[in-house]
């Protein structure tokens, strides 16, 4: 092994996991930007996509079809969540909405526990998820490369959507000043529904690769991703879409970096160290790296 191939491996791992983290954070921030809602139940959208993978996996559908349907299922779940739980408390304080989402999260997890299984269940995955490529000294997992590609495609597609489409522009305007946007004739329900659908779709894409790493799905499968999404979006600035992406990649590099360079005996404390660093970042910039007035664009 040379330093160079180590470097390449580090870069690919970090970019791949960072991209995934960026998508997680984006799904959270796109809703927060408009509603000021920190959606704790975001992880359960990932769970729903995971169980869709599980249940549809038994059908004769090709895997790609199963994957697409799972993403759609998560998007629909996002829409339903908004309609049933969040619309009635939309005009309440952010605290009320936050606790509502916490309750929705517990509710959905308990329902999965009750109706499916408390134990982790294996999900059918295509061959390429476990294969790896060897180029020279460098061994790369195929799924890392695909995650890398898919996240970049998703990010580009979302950017184009937000910049060019009417709903995308309305979304950005609403994130900037919701009251003003409504006064200009944009329908609030439509914009918010769009945000939740996008959030759900992102959760679905995240689920493919997150669950692809362990190939297991359980009721609490969304906890780790939602936590990462929180941390990444707080680091980047909760009200900035660019910040979410940046925060995701920062956290990705941090995670892989600590895993590579932290002494063995401290490796068990990796999560504690990561969150500790995050609290330090917040001390210096409470509004996040790109958040608040200093952050500028969205």
């Amino acid at each position: 092994m040379t330093d160079f191939s180590d470097g390449i491996q580090f870069l690919i791992s970090s970019l791949s996991i960072g991209g995934l983290y960026a998508l997680m954070a984006l799904g959270l921030v796109i809703v927060y930007g408009i509603l000021r809602l920190v959606n704790f139940a975001y992880g359960e959208l990932i769970m729903i996509a995971g169980y869709s993978l599980l249940l549809l996996g038994d059908t004769p559908l090709p895997w790609l079809g199963v994957a697409i349907l799972s993403v759609i299922a998560a998007a629909i779940a996002g829409l339903l969540m908004e309609r049933v739980a969040f619309r009635p408390v939309r005009d309440s304080s952010p605290t009320t909405m936050l606790i509502t989402s916490f309750a929705v999260s517990t509710l959905l997890q308990s329902v999965a526990l009750l109706t499916i299984s408390p134990r982790p269940r294996p999900v059918r995955l295509p061959e390429f998820f476990v294969q790896s490529l060897t180029v020279g000294d460098v061994r790369i997992r195929v799924v890392d490369l695909i995650a890398l590609a898919v996240t970049i495609v998703a990010l580009v597609a979302l950017t184009i959507f937000l910049r060019r489409s009417l709903i995308g522009i309305a979304l950005r305007a609403a994130a900037d000043d919701f009251t003003m946007t409504r006064l200009l004739g944009v329908r609030a329900n439509l914009v918010i529904a769009a945000a939740f659908a996008i959030s759900g779709a992102l959760a679905g894409i995240v689920a493919l690769f997150w669950i692809g790493r362990s190939s297991l799905v359980e009721p609490a499968v969304g906890l780790q991703p939602v936590l990462i999404a929180f941390i990444a979006s707080v680091v980047g600035g909760l009200d900035s879409l660019r910040g979410a992406v940046l925060g995701g990649y920062v956290l990705g590099f941090l995670t892989i970096g600590l895993q590579t360079w932290l002494p063995r005996e401290l490796l068990d404390y990796r999560d504690a160290v990561t969150f500790g660093i995050v609290i330090v970042i917040l001390l210096v910039r409470p509004q996040g790296l790109l958040g608040g007035a200093a952050g500028g664009g969205r």
């Binding site: 329902v111 941390i231 707080v234």
Partner: protein, 352 residues
Amino acid sequence: MSDRGRASPIWLPRLVTGLILIAGIALLAIATGAVGDRVFVRVVTVLFINMVLVVGLQVFMGNSGLVSFGHVAFMGIGAYGSIWFSLTPEQKNLALPDMPEEWWLHQTTLPFPLAIVAGGLLALIVGGIIGIALVRLRGASFTIATFALLLIVHSVALQTEVLTRGSRTVFGIPPYTTLWTVAAWAVAAVIVALLFKESATGLKLRAAREDEDAAASLGVDAARVRWLGWALSVFIAGVGGGLWAHFITTFSPAAFYLSQTFLIVAMLIIGGSRSVSGAVVGAAAVALTSELLRDTEGRLNTQRADGAGVGQFIPFQLVGFTEIVLAIAIILILIWRPAGITGGREVVSRGS
């Protein structure tokens, strides 16, 4: 706050509120003691422990308006902290076999009430230091940071075997906590919370909650009063943890995690976070309802196994049914009565 009551002295409704809450706790304790049924004594003892935790949470959440999902971490610190001090060296050899015998902590044994206070103080020290950073955050960032804190403390507790035995269960803790001791601690917590709410610091904290800029213009240092509220609040959470540890007598870090967090947040929100009465009412209402639900769940599962009664028509084993009902209750309450059962008011408020 808006009603300007006539001549009645300002402290009277507060005193009456305090007396009613204390009388309620005392009545429940005496009635439970009189019934003497073991299961019921157990339920009410846990209820009082949770009441201490919920009142502790109310001290911060109610007065500052910020949501903390991290208080259960301090419950955990209080639980482990109190057993470090309450156990004799011989008991520590069994309960915490990884702790080196030569440690000062291993040699030290304090009487039970002091060990509980020591657990609370430990929570205060840890929380106080982290709090310096936390109180600079607002709104959602604050909540997320406290959530991260819960996970940090959980993961540290799982890894630090010398202090906690890691993920394995600590057992053999002497059952010092009784119905009467927790009732007394619950009364103490209620008195402290009511006094804090009406103290100068509590008032400033509530002023900063309503409008931080306006409060600052009147000379309120928001970060400072927020820190004071936080410190008192995590101390009470630590005390609650110590009481819990000496009641349950066997536990692992898993006890101080999401489901306990959900429970105490649910209790506070359902009761009404803006008042101490809300914390007391919420803890009691949720504890008794969930016991009823758990009992029903058990009965239905037995019926299902025996193929009798209503239970035989249920297609699956009921697990987590209680959480589902609680979650739905929270959502409905937030939709129809966002300020909780008590509407955020004390039992007796000014002018009423």
